[in-house]
């Protein structure tokens, strides 16, 4: 498919100091582009893809680490504060990457197709939404009838505590939902999890009576955030104020903070996933995925191991739910539709189920397609519509183009296309998962024979 001379060039670029040069060049040019044209989607794409150049090329591990830290801890926040839309995109990528990594444990490792994963996300979100807002005092009021000036139940700083509580609560929910479900296999499991996902959403929608737990379809707001010390804002201003170009507000800093929190969660998830994968537990999960009958004959307790996968996956979604509630300060059942579950699933499949870098890449790709490419196209089309431009030959005026053809409305088409194309052309995903290569003594002996 790729011409030979191109292959040669690529191969040469992977040796010596070239990788270092390419990575740095990519990162610097991306930063420069975004800096000079802070509204360009294209410039932003160049910057964000530098992360994957960093992943792709083999370099010294310390170099990778340092560049990674510089990118994620300095360049992304600063660029993001300059144009808050960028930060939103990066934040969403992080949130979805974390969710996809969680789902990856259930689908990628244990092979349990969970179509209701977003339920656990909802559990986390509503957990903090309830305790981090005035909802406790609204219990006896129908939605919309509560008096104003109700107090908050807990201080905003309890947020951090609830990030940990969510791990437990979501894991328990996972076990609770999983216990009746996990005896089923394959398609049956998928259907039942789909049902449970909807049950949680409908519960959130209807649990405004007899006691008003969730405020129904109107959702809960305002939800508190942890306090942001003035000194952090001032410090950021002093350090980066000149590069950012405007005074940084606490609101900006909140966005940065939630992005960093999401990043921290991703790192923890990736760490936990890797460690588990390469242990008794991870091997048992993979064995279950490969062949349940053989796995149980080897002494692997099926239901318990599946529940463990469900619980671990759920707990990650729970944490991200708390984070979402805090960052948005508003939660409604709409955020937890079936489409979200499918979206996360398509990220896992696109990236490569079972592969950590793959799943992160999948999350980034789908989110960027959604937030930037589709919306960029929409913007472009609407500009054309307002102009006098005409498509030559067929003499079609852009102004007559139906608004139904707004690309931003074609998110579902996009998910569908991704799933179909991946299944046909690359079922193992963009970055397929690989079994760890062990250094075995017998391998060396084997070569000699």
């Amino acid at each position: 498919m790729i011409p030979v001379f191109l292959k040669d060039i690529i191969k040469r670029l992977e040796e010596g100091i070239y990788p270092y040069v390419i990575i740095l060049a990519h990162m610097v040019s991306g930063t420069a582009l975004v800096y000079t044209s802070p509204r360009s989607n294209l410039a932003f794409l160049v910057l964000i893809t530098s992360f994957f150049t960093l992943y792709y090329f083999k370099t010294d591990r310390r170099f990778k680490l340092i560049v990674g830290v510089v990118l994620t801890l300095f360049i992304f926040p600063v660029v993001g504060v300059r144009n808050i839309f960028y930060l939103e995109v990066i934040f969403q990528i992080s949130v979805f990457a974390a969710l996809a990594l969680g789902l990856n444990i259930v689908v990628g490792f244990a092979g349990l197709l969970d179509l209701g994963y977003v339920a656990f996300y909802a559990v986390g979100a509503y957990l903090w939404a309830f305790f981090g807002s005035q909802q406790y005092y609204v219990l006896h009021f129908a939605p919309g009838t509560q008096p104003s000036n109700l107090p908050f139940l807990l201080p905003g700083d309890a947020f951090y505590l609830f990030m940990f509580a969510a791990i437990l609560i979501a894991a328990l929910t996972g076990i609770l939902l999983g216990t009746p479900v996990l005896r089923l296999r394959g398609d049956y499991l998928a259907i039942v999890t789909l049902g449970f996902g909807e049950v949680i959403r409908v519960l959130a929608n209807n649990l405004d009576k007899p006691l008003n737990f969730t405020n129904g379809p109107q959702g809960i707001t305002p939800i508190q955030r942890p306090t942001m010390p003035q000194s952090v804002v001032e410090g950021f201003n002093a350090l980066f104020g000149r590069i950012v170009g405007h005074q940084v507000t606490p609101a900006d800093m909140y966005n940065v903070m939630f992005y960093l929190l999401a990043l921290a969660v991703i790192i923890v998830i990736a760490f936990v996933t890797r460690r588990l994968d390469d242990s008794k537990i991870g091997r048992a999960w993979t064995a279950i995925r490969e062949d349940e009958t053989a796995a149980i004959a080897m002494g692997i307790p099926l239901v318990r191991m599946k529940l463990a996968a469900f619980a671990v996956g759920a707990s990650f979604a729970g944490v991200m739910g708390v984070l979402l509630a805090g960052s948005r300060t508003f939660i409604s059942p709409e955020s937890f539709s079936f489409m979200q579950s499918i979206g996360v699933l398509s990220m896992v499949i696109l990236g490569g189920s079972g592969s950590i870098p793959g799943v992160i890449l999948g999350a980034a790709t789908v989110t960027i397609l959604n937030l930037q490419v589709l919306q960029g196209l929409s913007l472009y089309l609407s500009q054309l519509r307002q102009s006098d431009a005409v498509i030559p030959i067929i003499n079609f005026a852009w102004a007559n183009l139906s608004t139904q053809l707004d690309p931003a409305k074609y998110q579902r088409l996009l998910f569908g296309l991704i799933l179909i194309l991946m299944m046909i052309f690359r079922p193992e995903g963009l970055i397929p998962s690989q079994r760890r290569k062990r250094e075995l003594a017998s391998d060396k002996d084997g070569d000699k024979e």
Partner: protein
């Protein structure tokens, strides 16, 4: 001492009685075969022993305890390991990982050990890796530890299945048609391997096999099933000349003398 004993076990599927009142006794340290025509209920009998099916009636005793009502994984952890008629490896895991899965019941690492790579975890992984390599050498799979199981040749996959079963340090090894699809040389090799497993590791072996060369060569005792029932039992010599066995294989009215050699 009887390692395994079944008392009148019955397994029905709807109107079909696949295993009918089978009484079977297996002493420690022996190599015993179960033979019988296709559909005789041999594999169902295996599946009942390993807990994949629960017997409708009757009792199964293993190593002094009753197995009825236990799940397959619980039975496996009591010391029964098996291979499958149609190879069931974890195709997308490496050879060594397949064997490590076989050790599952013996690994004591906790999630905490695993997450923080505590000494417990590291030592156990190192030890089990070494043990897995030993097993690979033992069954004749040296130097392919990092290959995916699905990439092994057929004979290698059969051997890997045996290594995986051995990894659990079983008391009893159930082999379901282990020589199926093998050429004469390979068959001879695995037959020798089974004998070594019994002699060197002291593991009792119960096998289902159609290849009569294997059965007659290796078995100390043979049990014949037909239509779900045990129709005969005895040493290879006794089975060879048993008229009910010949009838089951060749049909009523067959002249015993003519067909003896075909069975043998």
């Amino acid at each position: 001492m009887a390692l395994l004993e079944t008392v009148n076990i019955i397994k029905r599927f709807g109107g079909l009685t696949a295993v009918n009142k089978v009484n079977f006794r297996l002493d420690t340290g022996r190599i015993v075969s179960i033979i019988g025509p296709n559909g005789a209920g041999k594999t169902t009998f295996f599946n009942t022993l390993t807990g994949i099916y629960q017997p409708d009636e009757g009792r199964i005793n293993f190593n002094g305890r009753m197995l009825n009502g236990l799940r397959p994984d619980q039975i496996a952890s009591r010391g029964i390991s098996r291979t499958f008629q149609n190879i069931r490896l974890f195709a997308n895991m490496s050879v060594i990982e397949n064997i490590l899965v076989g050790m599952h019941v013996h690994l004591k690492q906790t999630p905490i050990d695993t997450l923080f790579h505590l000494p417990n975890f590291k030592n156990e992984e190192k030890e089990s890796e070494l043990k897995a390599e030993e097993l690979m050498t033992y069954v004749g799979l040296k130097g392919v530890g990092n290959e995916l199981a699905k990439n092994l040749p057929y004979g290698g996959q059969r051997r890997l299945e045996i290594a995986r079963a051995l990894a659990a340090d079983p008391l009893l090894l159930l082999l379901d048609e282990p020589a199926a699809g093998m050429n004469p040389q390979e068959t001879e090799d695995v037959t020798r391997l089974f004998r070594r497993i019994r002699d060197e590791k002291g593991i009792t072996i119960l096998l289902i096999e159609h290849d009569m060369r294997v059965v007659m060569n290796i078995s100390e005792h043979i049990c014949v099933m037909d239509y779900g029932e045990k129709i005969a039992e005895g040493t290879p010599e006794e089975i060879r000349s048993d008229s009910r066995v010949i009838e089951a294989y060749l049909g009523r009215g067959a002249v015993a003398g003519q067909h003896e050699e075909k069975i043998a």
